[in-house]
Symmetry: C2
Subunit: 314 residues, 2 copies
Amino acid sequence: MKKYAFGVDIGGTTIKIGFFATEGELIDTWEIPTRTADNGKYIIGDIKQSIEDELAKRNLSIDDIEGIGLGVPGPVTEDGTVLKCVNLGWGVINIEEILSDAMGKIKVRAGNDANVAALGEMWKGGGKGHKDLVLITLGTGVGGGIIINGKILAGANGAAGEIGHIPVSDDETEPCGCGKKGCLEQYASANGIVRVAKRYLAANPDCKTTLRDSDNISSKVIFDKAKEGDSVALTIVDEVGRLLGKSIASICCVLNPEAVVIGGGMSKAGELLINTIKEYYKKYAFHASANTEFCIAELGNLAGIYGGAKMIID
Amino acid sequence: MKKYAFGVDIGGTTIKIGFFATEGELIDTWEIPTRTADNGKYIIGDIKQSIEDELAKRNLSIDDIEGIGLGVPGPVTEDGTVLKCVNLGWGVINIEEILSDAMGKIKVRAGNDANVAALGEMWKGGGKGHKDLVLITLGTGVGGGIIINGKILAGANGAAGEIGHIPVSDDETEPCGCGKKGCLEQYASANGIVRVAKRYLAANPDCKTTLRDSDNISSKVIFDKAKEGDSVALTIVDEVGRLLGKSIASICCVLNPEAVVIGGGMSKAGELLINTIKEYYKKYAFHASANTEFCIAELGNLAGIYGGAKMIID
């Protein structure tokens, strides 16, 4: 094994790059802008340039590098084919082959960003010590990544771990971003919980709650008010925690993982949310999965570069 | 690779044994009774004896055998540990080690029977040509087995694929066999659909249906009446198909498999049930998984011995 590796997390606005020792240490990390112009045709060249600049700065050559692991914000199959990546403007391309060819046939591995983040959390984050886990990110949307026996589960169309689109309600009237109605993401994301709260306030105009004092109800406001004991905010957190606990019980009926790692902005709500999720998980879980460990993600937005590096180091 | 292998499917009343050429052909199959007396202590010896008898009959020795693959009706972890097997009377034992030691250190592999059956269906049955699939068996209960990259997914406690216990209803008043309320199995098994029908008839005493002509409503009666156009029977099949289609959509959000294979006694209902499941699957599925292939299991109660042999041949 060569001494160094790169982990790259391609986002819609910035590309995070991490320079790692293959022994596991993150040596340096930086960002470059994601140039999505002209169907994202500059992105690969920009990554190549940034990596070469870093190597030059350190008096290293590409021969010192074991490989480059990439997280991509779209579906990626096991052989490194990006099936489509709307955020970047990419159509169907084999990103592993293209970047490898551009960089002297170096080893390149790619995965969906949520899946790669899950690998990062397994390696150095909240899932450390486990080899079978599910990462659930509660951010603007609800994302997921699945690790089985230390490896990313990509799925036939690169769509494994799309747990934000588990159907949880037959009564929903508004569409999810995916076009369906009643997806988990419509309730359990940062946007979703706000929607649940506003809907509750509209349906219960006479209920007393400090939530009405806020000009702009955000997920943070809801959790803060719930922690202060506001009964309506607590009701909302309870309902969202119930949907998450129930969905995680379904996931665990399928996978029976060692651990579930909760990440994303909403995981910062801490004990209140996790305890609510766990309470409902216990209610809905099959007995053989009842003791699945719940952990909080630890790497924040560095999970992707860690996971990228881990794809190479393994 | 040696020339022969055995696949063994241990059930609560009989043990099925298959003698295979490692090239893939099933040469012979037979059954012996499962002696569950004295906490199932005779079972392993009975299997050993039956295999040795077969070898003697064929003038073969244990040295001609690549190995023995076992399906066990309980949770089995990846290292071959049976965690508990109520039907057989077994506690926690490593069945791979015990049988291997008893038979001159031959290669032994074991898995949960539903998971092993899934492997069999992938190899020689309805899932042929796929390497990522989910088998759903609609029998007395609802069982499941998951194959990822051609291998059984065991799960941390040997409980992966327990999809009969996905929570699908919050309104259920009767308990499932597992102790929870509202599991998929309570509606979508042979017993479950009868329960749904009886409940419907009790709640709608004035509805006209030929179902009331039956002294003994079974799942077969319900499907037969539905095929004859009985609107109540069709309503029941529709509701059960909806719960299955929705649950499979959830499963596919997690795994994004290539194929879903439907087996068990109820799969004999054929097109009517499958088409209803597929119709609701399309409604509930995430777009990237919308084209998951649906197949009917083909090996019946031989799936377990095929899967057992495949564990060895791989």
